[in-house]
């Protein structure tokens, strides 16, 4: 095993080790401080945790692809809200109501297509204008939110469809529908990034764009595809979440981009691109949700969660830097 590979493995396992530490901490220490008499490691509790990780998790997985590719997407929260509105609104259209339950897959399709279209807009602009993705998606974050208000006005939109709610609350092999979507997304994206040409190219482009261009990789279409992918996933996240809740507020999804990026960075993906792993992001998502639940379990308020997550993010950054610096020193010898 080369030192580089060993370091990678160490980094990949770091997030899972962190999760184990969290579990141990909240189970042992937590049970003494806990306000409820239920154990933290309760099976039901863990299942619920996975389900609650799904909305941000699905977006974070897509963000991993975008960031490996060397870009960033700040508009996912707005795309999420827009897809949610299309999902709920479209079911109230007259012709959709004549379809009965067949309206559901159609409404999903509309929502997902909305997400893909928004992603395509971002991707095309990044590709054709050469403006940095950070700026393009920062603008889109405002613009898409404008579209949300245009469709929806300032009032919440509600539409409960009980077939849909039943589906969203169903459990298959013990796992909730949302969890299945999260795991399936993780599996497919992992396959995409590790087993396909597109995935390898995405790493190559993120690692060194010039070199990738010189190697004959067409950078633009890869950008476009990845932005369409994250748009799709932001919409999928909305589909999964709002099928159950049935009510969307025009400000929903705000700051989701920042939570997703936090999870991705915790998972060790590099902001500069070219390095990262889908599975580690899944770890990052679970670690954050564990922290939320765990701190709640020991009776800490929500405010502490924000504080702790923020500080952990910075601590990870410092650790990562130390680790990398050590690696460089080894190289010198």
């Amino acid at each position: 095993m080369t030192p580089d590979k060993r370091k990678d493995l160490l980094k990949m396992s770091a997030i899972w080790a962190f999760i184990l530490v969290e579990l141990a901490f909240f189970s042992i220490i937590g049970d003494r401080l806990s306000v409820s008499d239920k154990a933290f490691m309760d099976f039901e509790n863990m299942l619920l945790l996975l389900k609650q990780s799904a909305p941000i998790g699905i977006i974070a997985l897509g963000m991993t692809v975008i960031m490996i590719n060397g870009n960033i997407d700040l508009s996912v929260g707005a795309t999420f809200a827009l897809a949610a509105i299309v999902l709920l609104e479209s079911m109230t259209w007259p012709f959709m109501q004549t379809l009965g339950d067949w309206a559901i897959p159609l409404a999903w399709l509309f929502a997902l297509l909305t997400g893909v279209a928004m992603g395509a807009i971002n991707g095309l602009i990044v590709w054709k204008t050469g403006v940095d993705a950070f700026i393009v998606t920062l603008g889109a974050m405002l613009g898409f939110r404008g579209l949300v208000f245009m469709f929806n006005g300032e009032q919440p939109t509600s539409h409960l469809n009980w077939t849909l709610v039943d589906f969203a609350e169903a459990q298959f092999l013990g796992l909730h529908t949302a969890t299945w979507f999260l795991l399936a997304t993780a599996l497919l994206l992992w396959l995409l990034m590790t087993k396909t040409v597109h995935g390898r190219n995405a790493y190559a482009i993120g690692n060194n764009r010039e070199a990738a261009v010189n190697a004959g990789i067409r950078v633009g279409p890869h950008f476009l595809l990845n932005f369409m992918l994250i748009g799709f996933l932001a919409a999928l996240s909305a589909v999964v979440f709002y099928s159950e809740s049935g009510s969307v507020n025009p400000n929903d999804g705000m700051l989701y981009e920042l939570w997703a990026i936090t999870a991705v960075v915790l998972g060790g993906t590099k902001l500069a691109g070219g390095y990262g792993s889908i599975i580690s992001t899944l770890g990052g998502v679970i670690a954050i949700q564990l922290l939320r639940k765990g701190l709640g379990h020991v009776g800490a308020d929500t405010q502490t969660v924000n504080l702790v997550i923020g500080l952990i993010l910075i601590a990870v950054l410092i650790l990562d830097r130390q680790l990398n610096r050590k690696g460089q020193e080894e190289l010198k010898i």
């Binding site: 700040l74 602009i125 590709w127 054709k128 204008t129 050469g130 403006v131 940095d132 950070f134 700026i135 393009v136 920062l138 603008g139 889109a140 974050m141 405002l142 613009g143 898409f144 939110r145 404008g146 579209l147 949300v148 208000f149 245009m150 261009v213 067409r218 950078v219 633009g220 950008f223 705000m254 700051l255 920042l258 990026i261 936090t262 960075v265 902001l271 308020d301 929500t302 405010q303 502490t304 969660v305 924000n306 504080l307 702790v308 997550i309 923020g310 500080l311 952990i312 993010l313 910075i314 950054l317 410092i318 830097r321």
Partner: protein, 323 residues
């Protein structure tokens, strides 16, 4: 200067934002007389002042080659702290105490980004969350209100006028003038440009990169504290989330002003123009009778067009060479 196609192109790219501003103002003025009413103009600037003050500080950070996503969260902190301390130790002590605490936060970020050389986007993302937690801990999650709203002089900064000019405008203008001078005319300002333009070259020529970055975050924190003071003084009560989401709006104004996210370019004056454009577009679209959400969509288009023009002028072609 001979008017060639190229020189017009360069002028548009360099001063495009001013041209666009002028076109917008004239267009809106023709569409609705009330737009150029002095009261309306004062109203727009006044309501942009808080965002504007924050944008001034972020301009320093961005020219220095970094980002600051924590300013919204930090502004909520300043607002809550000064309102809480107002009733506990009186406004005369509360204001310096709040400035001190906010500067401490800025110093912490400056230390992490400047001296430890950590990625500013992630550090300030972490601080966005952490400071939000801090604010909630301070307030216990409740809204903060001054008990005796009519019996305090604390409202002067947000509500009073001096020489007929609303105080927020005056403070914004004063701060912009001072920081503009610092940026353009002092050794510190030149060093900020140097560090942001080419950090390594700056280090080799003996500029203390870490210390300069550290100070840009202190400037940003000072501006945030001022914005928090204006906000608190204007409303005399506040939610914990008053500044939420402002970090990206501020960044939009700074980018609109032409500062490059890569650092090394931008000016305080252009940031002020960026802030005013956002404010006047919002106001103008409403006066023309369009719904409020149109401003978001227009802002989206303007941000991308502004940066696109800038990028296109630098590389000499409209479309990106990316295959």
């Amino acid at each position: 200067m001979k008017l060639t196609k190229q020189s017009v192109g360069t002028f548009l790219a360099k001063q495009g934002i001013l041209v666009a501003f002028a076109v917008f103002m004239i267009g809106f003025a023709l569409a609705n007389q009330r737009f150029i009413d002095i009261d309306n103009i004062a109203g727009v600037i006044r309501s942009s002042a808080i965002l504007g003050v924050m944008a001034l500080g972020v301009t320093f950070v961005v020219i220095g080659g970094n980002l600051d996503l924590s300013v919204g969260s930090m502004m909520s902190f300043s607002t809550i702290v000064v309102l809480d301390l107002h009733d506990k130790i009186g406004p005369a002590l509360a204001i310096p105490a709040m400035f001190g605490l906010t500067l401490l936060l800025g110093a912490f970020i400056g230390f992490l980004v400047g001296y430890l050389k950590l990625n500013s986007l992630i550090v300030t993302l972490g601080m966005l969350s952490a400071i939000h937690g801090l604010t909630l801990t301070w307030s216990g999650g409740k809204n903060m209100d001054i008990a005796d709203k009519s019996g305090t002089w604390f409202s002067v900064f947000g509500q009073d006028r001096l020489l007929g000019i609303p105080m927020p405008i005056l403070i914004f203008a004063l701060l912009a003038a001072i920081l503009g001078l610092v940026m353009a005319k002092t050794p510190f300002g030149r060093k900020v440009y140097a560090v942001g333009g080419n950090g390594q070259a700056a280090t080799f020529s003996g500029i203390p990169r870490a210390r300069i970055v550290f100070f840009t975050y202190l400037v940003s924190a000072f501006c945030v504290a001022t914005a928090g003071l204006l906000q608190a003084s204007r409303s005399l009560g506040s939610q914990n989330t008053v500044g939420q989401g402002m970090e990206l709006e501020v960044l939009a104004a700074v980018i609109l002003g032409g500062a490059s996210l890569l650092g090394g370019s931008g000016t305080i004056f252009k940031t002020v123009i960026g802030v005013l454009i956002l404010g006047f577009i919002q106001n103008g679209l409403l006066l023309v009778g369009l719904d409020f959400y149109v401003q978001y969509i227009v802002t989206w288009a303007i941000i991308i067009l502004a940066v696109w023009l800038d990028v296109a002028a630098k590389r000499g072609s409209l479309w990106s060479p990316i295959a």
